[in-house]
């Protein structure tokens, strides 16, 4: 029975972190929306497409909102919220939109913010002005 305890400890610590991948909005593309390994969720880059039209909206505030909705929806599929995020990267094709982005972003958190980098990019896919990716660790 002592040996069982030791074997169990070894097995548990080894540490059997189960992995689960979540399909993207566009299932033809070669990436997952996110991959969960144990308590850590690696979230793919998300854009701010209007879910009705599939297009990037003209209004950058609307784009930021759609993007954060899509990002939060990916977290939700893994049973998490924005508050579980530990690190976020935001790529932005026009850094003059920093305040616009921050206003939309700030509202999504109820407590402390994750670490974040806000990086001026080149041209993004689909003419997007923003792309967000990140890593979350489930709070216990």
């Amino acid at each position: 029975m002592n040996k069982l305890a030791i074997a169990l400890s070894l097995a548990l610590c080894a540490c059997a972190a189960p992995r689960r991948s979540f399909a993207p909005a566009d299932a033809d593309l070669p990436f997952s929306s996110g991959v969960l390994v144990g308590d850590t969720y690696y979230v793919a880059g998300h854009l701010g497409r209007d879910p009705q039209t599939g297009a990037i909206p003209e209004d950058p505030a609307a784009e930021a909102g759609f993007m954060l909705d899509a990002f939060a929806a990916s977290l939700a599929r893994a049973g998490m919220t924005m508050d579980d995020l530990v690190q976020v990267q935001v790529f932005c094709a026009d850094v003059s939109l920093y305040d616009t982005f921050n206003a939309a972003y700030r509202r999504r958190f109820s407590g402390e913010f994750p670490a974040r980098a806000f990086i001026g990019s080149g041209q993004l896919l689909r003419g997007a002005r923003f792309e967000i990716l990140g890593t979350a660790v489930r709070r216990h």
Copy 2:
């Protein structure tokens, strides 16, 4: 003996994640090709240089192939494959090459894809059109 089981559990969980760094192709540069900590492998940014000439090839499909070869070789040194990746970032100086990249990328996986962001960058080192980095977690 029970105390031994408890002590072992504590020691194992603490959790002695051994670290190993792997040298880059150009050993004079101040980075490792990847760092392994326990079961997690942090992979450096890799370019698509032709291993014969050291140059970025003119053909972007060839460049993507060389880059993915170099990236997979870094994973292999840590005993992993592309299928162990959980999160990937691809930087691309010309996002019109998205389909070209995806065609080369898709072939490298046998199952589900990792989370990924494909980000339009500025000018990359050595005139590269692509740079890839990522994180892998060993499957058990």
Copy 3:
């Protein structure tokens, strides 16, 4: 008592990784300078502002130095050093500054270097030429 050992193992492995967020230099902005979860520290993007003036200095070598000072200070608040880093991303608005950056960077490490990507960006916030972010895992 055997059951206690098993219960303890389970509890320890579950694995109660405590989380701590560190405030940024500018407490009004919606991000933490870093988030520590267990032994892993996720470090936010840092710029190279002159701590006396708050501005990005004209000299790129000075900017790189200020940036690395700020980044190392964030690590220090979590009880770590540059040597604990496992993965670093450097964004650079002018990749002709690669050697300038490397000279400043190299001096900050006493042993092996982390995995790193050096990526040509678009325009960065505040006219910065460099931004650095990364992940560290405490060495035991």
